[in-house]
């Protein structure tokens, strides 16, 4: 008789749900949820019992998250501010020299009645010359000229509802071919440049955010790694009496999420403090420019994104650490 018939190996029974449940693999869902809630709270309690270490980690995460959040807010404020300046876009129409002043006045009035134009002001050539003489200091040179070299100029300001860059461009193109107009100049170039500059800064902020997000992953990962090392014995015992990887992983994942969430809260506090500290001077500066501008704080979606993002980063960071370090610990 061969050995294999003496010791037959029974066929593997299929892992039916009922059997898994009997073995404790699939506990009652209510019990399961309750356990999750318990682990969630006990991992919070664990952070609470090591306040100094936990606060250090949270502070580092907070600073890392506060930087991109603060820059984002700065950009947001810059966008609002430049949005306010859109109203000051203006088009200068230089009329042909041969157009008589009466005709210039008629054109200015006609333009002023158009709905897409808020205001249309004529600067007669004589007035322009006086102004130039007063401001430039070239008075003597001008006197040498036989006649006024300046044309009549009509300054047009687009109506508030028609101040978007494309609409203003279209208006300028049309005005350029109006009879009597020699040349039209749009004083908007600097707004465009500002927008371009802000776009670059925005990209920069995104890069900084990604880098600091990685830093948060590393900080959380390292904290959880130390935590795993400190609880090595506990993990060994748990594995020895039949804890699954998921069971052992859970408290560490929740700790990571807590770190991230509190880091998000810390970042919010830091940014709010920075806003509060700069709010006064900014308002004074705005007053000097006769502006009602005030710094806006983080709105609800931003705060929510900060907190949820922080928690998710913490979760991911601890997931990475747990995946690398838990498997190495086996009872012996």
């Amino acid at each position: 008789m061969s050995r294999s018939t003496r010791h037959p190996v029974p066929p593997r029974r299929p892992a039916t749900a009922k059997r898994l449940r009997r073995l404790g693999a699939w506990p009652d869902p209510r019990v399961y949820l309750l356990r999750h809630a318990e682990v969630l709270l006990s991992s919070l309690g664990r952070l609470w019992r090591n306040p100094v270490a936990s606060l250090m980690t949270v502070a580092v995460i907070g600073i890392a998250l506060a930087l991109p959040t603060g820059l984002h807010l700065l950009l947001e404020n810059a966008r609002l501010l430049s949005g306010g300046w859109d109203g000051s876009t203006q088009v200068s129409l230089f009329l042909r020299r041969e157009v008589p002043e009466a005709e210039s006045q008629r054109l200015a009035r006609a333009l002023g009645e158009r709905p897409e134009i808020a205001e249309s002001t004529l600067i007669p050539r004589a007035e322009a010359l006086e102004e130039f003489r007063a401001l430039s200091g070239f008075g003597g040179a001008l006197d040498a000229l036989e006649e006024n070299p300046l044309p009549d100029v009509i300054v047009v300001r687009p109506a508030p509802g028609h101040a978007a860059p494309e609409e203003v461009e279209a208006l300028v193109t049309e005005l350029r071919v109006t009879p009597g107009v020699e040349h039209a100049r749009l004083d908007m170039q600097w707004v465009k440049r500002l927008y371009a500059l802000m776009e670059i800064v925005r990209r920069g902020v995104e890069v900084v955010a990604v880098l600091l997000g990685l830093a948060v992953l590393l900080v959380v990962g390292n904290t959880i790694r130390l935590d795993i090392q400190n609880r090595r014995r506990e993990i060994e015992v748990a594995k020895l009496i039949g804890a699954t990887d998921a069971f052992i992983r859970r408290p560490f994942l929740y700790s990571g999420a807590w770190y991230g969430l509190f880091g998000g809260v810390a970042a919010w506090l830091l940014v709010s403090m920075a806003l509060w500290a700069t709010g006064g001077p900014v308002q004074q500066l705005a007053l000097l420019y006769q502006s009602q501008f005030r710094l806006v704080a983080a709105d609800a979606p931003t705060v929510l994104a900060l907190l949820v993002g922080g928690a998710l980063l913490g979760l991911l960071g601890s997931w990475l650490a747990v995946g690398r370090h838990l498997r190495a610990i086996e009872p012996s």
């Binding site: 050995r3 010791h7 190996v9 029974p10 593997r12 029974r13 898994l20 073995l23 404790g24 693999a25 506990p27 009652d28 019990v31 399961y32 309750l34 356990r35 014995r233 506990e234 060994e236 015992v237 748990a238 594995k239 020895l240 009496i241 039949g242 804890a243 699954t244 990887d245 069971f247 086996e330 009872p331 012996s332």
Partner: protein, 223 residues
């Protein structure tokens, strides 16, 4: 319940701790495992709990072939075992109650039942009054009994113990052995590795004797 078939265990480094061990233990048996220091007793028990894996041959425990068992299924095997070590692997930052409750918490037993079963297990080992204490405040024998309570609280089908009486005085050792007999009487299969040969002789149960990694079965008396 347990079947070893030509089991060989070679540790990394080349030392052969078990050299072709074959035996079977039926459901409901109580068996002692004896042998000199370094004979391979701990190694044999570790193979049963899948703390180590065999190099050759096969091990079947409670109807499952451990040789082919995937890592993810190991926890479910261990939940059917009760494991007791000489250094009892207690968690010193948790109360006696929490230590004993651990196997139940791990397998998701509802709260009310946890309390009931932990107290029943502590009652069996005579530590009912000490559930709120921390293990560090207990004597060596008491700590060992906490370990035993934790090993039986989830009603395992198989209890394995590695020198459970190692550093206890003879009276305590006898007391602990009586506990194992008690569990055996309610149907638990028990396998105990021990040096306490006089105790083993006095009890007259089946004995597996290891000699340099080879098995040499002797039956001391009968029941």
């Amino acid at each position: 319940m347990i079947r070893f078939d030509e089991v060989q265990k070679r540790y990394p480094g080349g030392h052969e701790a078990l050299k072709g061990v074959t035996f079977a233990i039926d459901k409901g048996e109580l068996v002692f495992l004896t042998g000199h220091s370094g004979a391979g007793k701990s190694t044999l028990l570790k193979l049963i709990a899948l703390i180590e894996r065999v190099s050759h041959g096969q091990v079947v425990v409670d109807g499952e072939n451990l040789t082919r068992m995937r890592r993810a299924r190991v926890p479910y095997l261990r939940r059917r075992l009760g494991i007791i070590f000489q250094d009892h692997h207690l968690l010193y930052d948790r109360t006696v109650f929490d230590n004993v409750a651990l196997p139940l918490v791990i397998s998701g037993v509802p709260h009310v039942e946890v309390g009931r079963r932990v107290r029943a297990a502590l009652d069996k080992v005579g530590l009912l009054g000490k559930e709120r204490l921390y293990p560090i405040t207990l004597s060596g024998g008491e700590q060992q009994r906490v370990g035993i309570a934790r090993a039986v609280v989830h009603k395992p089908v198989l209890l394995i113990a590695d020198e459970p009486t190692g550093n206890l005085d003879p009276d305590l050792a006898r007391e602990i052995m009586q506990l194992f007999l008690l569990f055996n009487q309610v149907g638990v299969t028990v396998l105990i590795a021990t040096h306490a040969l006089d105790l083993v002789r006095a009890l007259g149960e089946r004995v597996l004797h290891l000699e340099h990694g080879r098995l040499d079965e002797l039956r001391v008396g009968g029941r």
